[in-house]
């Protein structure tokens, strides 16, 4: 890549990120003023974000007012799956864009009265790279990675682990069959982000879900 072109790309990208930060700051202020706790989820494609979110919504909806936005390049599959949880869901189709941006969130919420919510979840496009750079105004960002993906994912995709608040190890029900090395995975997380909280869950078996809900409610109550 030529130096000139790189400079131009960096300039445009910097401008976009700056505008995204401004939009995200406005969203964050709005969410704080309204008292809605906003959680975003990032991971590889297929790490189990949607099932984790579905099980989270099912556990919260009895006690809280919850809703979710889900991002994908194409299809409304996730919104349809999540609709089974019986809470308001909206799909954001990004076309060829590999991540959500604050402005997409703002637009998707245009006619949603978020002040009436306790929790709003935002499921990003499945991508361990690009979403890292885009603040969405969330109060809490989860990075999920599944036991089937390999213990060194945090080392290979450090930026996204650095921008997240909590790491959720998903599909723990498969840990034995894939010979998952839990200590090695924790070491990878700690090497990239010392002190990061790690939660082990299986949305399928339910293991770890109560501890996650407790953690979530504790964070929201701060």
């Amino acid at each position: 890549m030529s130096g000139h072109k790189t400079t131009r790309l960096v300039e445009v990208r910097t401008k976009i990120l700056k505008e995204n930060d401004v939009a995200a700051r406005a969203l964050r202020q709005r969410f704080e003023d309204e008292g809605v706790f906003v959680v975003s989820l990032v991971s590889s494609p297929g790490a189990g974000k949607t099932m984790f979110l579905e099980q989270t919504l099912l556990r919260l909806r009895e006690r809280y007012r919850v809703a979710a936005l889900v991002g994908d390049l194409a299809t409304e599959n996730d919104a349809q799956r999540l609709a089974r949880a019986g809470v308001p869901i909206r799909q954001i189709c990004t076309g060829t864009v590999c991540h959500l941006e604050a402005d997409m969130v703002r637009t998707a919420l245009r006619d949603v009265d978020t002040a009436k919510l306790d929790f709003l979840f935002i499921e990003n496009v499945g991508n361990l790279v690009c979403p890292a750079s885009y603040d969405l105004g969330e109060a809490l960002r989860l990075v999920l990675f599944s036991v089937t993906e390999g213990e060194d994912k945090p080392l290979k995709y450090p930026t996204i682990f650095n921008t997240a608040d909590i790491c959720v190890l998903t599909k723990m029900d498969l840990a034995d069959v894939v010979e998952f090395d839990h200590a090695s995975a924790l070491n990878s997380v700690q090497a990239v982000r010392p002190g990061m909280q790690v939660l082990d869950v299986s949305a399928k078996s339910g293991v770890g879900m109560d501890a996650w809900i407790e953690t979530l409610c504790g964070r929201a109550a701060r």
Copy 2:
């Protein structure tokens, strides 16, 4: 995103893609002239590209001269793993760039005599979105997706399936335990890319690897 900014981004992106295409065309011509068959691999993070590649290299190295380039944001883990196959391996660290570009491949091959190779493999960064847009001069592009990721990945990430030549379903040894719906996955592939060849493999158990090697050698002999 404002109209002006979008236009500017599209302009810069178009220019970069055009320059990438020029670089990729030159690479493709070089590889054809030299008689080396170049295969690239794209997938989500953790879909099993590296183990699949390792097992492929092990099977080819007795009969052919093979080498590989592996892309990651950070770490040389994959190059170290692949080195066990006893063939020349080079790691490309992309930093924060979410995909390989033709020029990165050209640079990595600067002092490699590719004319002395029969096969060169290029493992892209784990990302089901961005690598789709970047031609690397390869003769064959594989898109891998694992049975743990969910049957609808092709529908959700159509572009990458559209730019690939063969779909490889990985981790077939886990199909039963995750209740993988094979017919549904095939339908997803066919919906996005009618007629696309799909290979079922488990690099771990070895199932499907011989059929893959046969397909590969058949394609290279065309």
